[in-house]
């Protein structure tokens, strides 16, 4: 498999946002929203299993719980989505056999991602909460990571609830991505529980978490805000969802988030729009 990947041109690899591998078919790269097939010959299900094994550092047991959820995070924060034949027990997926597709989302650290965003800390030292909204693959995590780094390097205590290990990409307790000097990271724990844990344990000024969506996670965000701690969070959605989906609009109405960043477009045409919560209410 490694040899097949080495055949791909470096230029193609550098522009890739995602690599897709399909058993019985081949490999394709996702770049600027377009999927481009790359001729490396047919890939077998066994080779996909080898990719997962290698990505886990020959330690499938450490990521088994994530694989049951359909993904795993490799070293350096690359997220691998997994598809195959599900083994079901009592109506729940208890494992995946005969892997059929993998989608490797390449984690990129862009230290200019948050450039141009208004300051979240006002002159009196108050920190404003921020919700980043975009469709999947829009660059939410990259923007969140850079925001965390900037705030942290300015001396703000940031606690990071990194459920999928994509933001800080921890290795042996040390972040491999730059998340700033004053950031405390709890990774691989459910984000709602991690947020409450960090609130109790690390006395943060900001709690950051990726992709809040369930009622449980939104309730955790509400609890954190209720304790006077600012929140940086991301969510799947579009500008329209802010008006139509009550779960988000209520958070803004209740003042859990003071500001919104909406990411739109993809690749080089990607951009964002900053909106004050008060303008939406």
């Amino acid at each position: 498999m490694r040899e097949k990947l080495y055949r791909i041109e470096k230029r193609v690899m550098l522009n890739a946002e995602e690599i897709r591998l399909r058993a019985g078919s081949g490999l394709s790269m996702l770049s600027a929203g377009r999927e481009i097939a790359v001729d490396v010959g047919k890939i077998s299900s066994g080779e996909l299993a080898d990719v997962i094994c290698a990505a886990s550092g020959a330690s499938i047991h450490t990521v088994a719980a994530n694989i049951r959820e359909g993904f795993m995070t490799a070293e350096n924060g690359h997220r691998i989505g997994i598809c195959g034949t599900a083994a079901v027990k009592n109506g729940e997926i208890c494992g995946i056999n005969n892997y059929s597709s993998l989608s490797v989302r390449i984690a990129k650290e862009i230290k200019t991602a948050a450039e141009g965003l208004p300051e979240l800390i006002n002159s009196s030292g108050q920190i404003a909460s921020l919700l980043i909204i975009s469709p999947p693959g829009g660059g939410k995590t990259t923007l969140l990571r850079d925001l965390v780094r900037r705030l942290s390097d300015n001396g703000t205590r940031v606690a990071l609830a990194d459920e999928r290990g994509e933001i800080a990409a921890m290795k042996s307790g040390v972040p491999t991505m730059d998340v700033g000097k004053c950031t405390d990271v709890m990774d691989m724990a459910p984000r709602a529980e991690a947020a409450m844990f960090l609130l109790r344990a690390m006395t943060p000024q900001i709690i950051a978490m990726d992709e809040i969506s369930s009622e449980h996670e939104l309730a955790a965000a509400r609890s954190v805000a209720g304790c006077g701690i600012a929140i940086l969070a991301t969510a799947h959605g579009s500008a329209e969802d802010l008006k139509t989906k009550k779960r988000y609009s209520r958070l803004i109405e209740d003042g859990v988030f003071d500001n919104i960043v909406m990411i739109n477009g993809s690749g080089s045409e990607r951009g964002w729009k900053f909106v004050r919560g008060s303008e939406l209410v």
């Binding site: 290698a54 886990s56 550092g57 020959a58 330690s59 499938i60 047991h61 450490t62 088994a64």
Partner: protein, 167 residues
């Protein structure tokens, strides 16, 4: 001159006999230590869910007995090859500790198990290997008990016999 020759014959035969006897001790000690370290490995992989590389690092630093060399050799080889290949190469290298072909093959087969399955499945398969090596360690003890003195005595005895014949 004859006396010096005889002495040399006695000495070399004795050394040969003693080294044969020592290989029995070395083999038994390695198998016992392997059982102990594989048990630690199973616990760290299946209960603490530590990654394989961390467990290998821990065993090669803090493991007791000669089997530590096996884990440290595997860790070293892991730098430029995948886990299964590194483990197999280290397992085949265990012949120097007196392991026979079947034992080396059993140990090498574990390379296709460790890190490739969920914790419970790994526990089951490592347990089976631990049971096997424990049985082999007991047989090695028995063999050592029966043959250690015999091999040493045969070495020294044959040296003396040759010396007498020479003189």
């Amino acid at each position: 001159m004859k006396a010096a020759g005889a002495l040399l014959v006695i000495l070399s035969c004795s050394v040969f006999g003693l080294s044969m006897a020592h290989s029995l001790r070395k083999r038994a000690e390695f198998l016992h230590s392997l059982v102990g370290l594989l048990t630690v490995m199973r616990n760290e992989l299946c209960t603490s869910l530590l990654p394989v590389r961390e467990v290998l690092d821990m065993l090669s630093r803090h493991g007791t007995g000669s089997a530590r060399e096996f884990f440290s050799s595997c860790l070293k080889q892991l730098e430029d090859r995948d886990f299964k290949t590194a483990w197999t190469a280290a397992a085949l290298g265990s012949r120097v500790w007196g392991m026979d072909d079947e034992e080396c093959r059993m140990l090498a087969e574990l390379g296709g198990v460790i890190g490739r399955y969920e914790a419970e499945k790994q526990r089951e398969l490592i347990d089976r290997a631990v049971e096997y090596f424990d049985m082999r360690a007991k047989l090695a003890d028995e063999e050592k008990r029966r043959q250690y003195k015999l091999r040493a005595a045969l070495g020294i005895g044959s040296g003396l016999m040759l010396a007498i014949l020479m003189i």
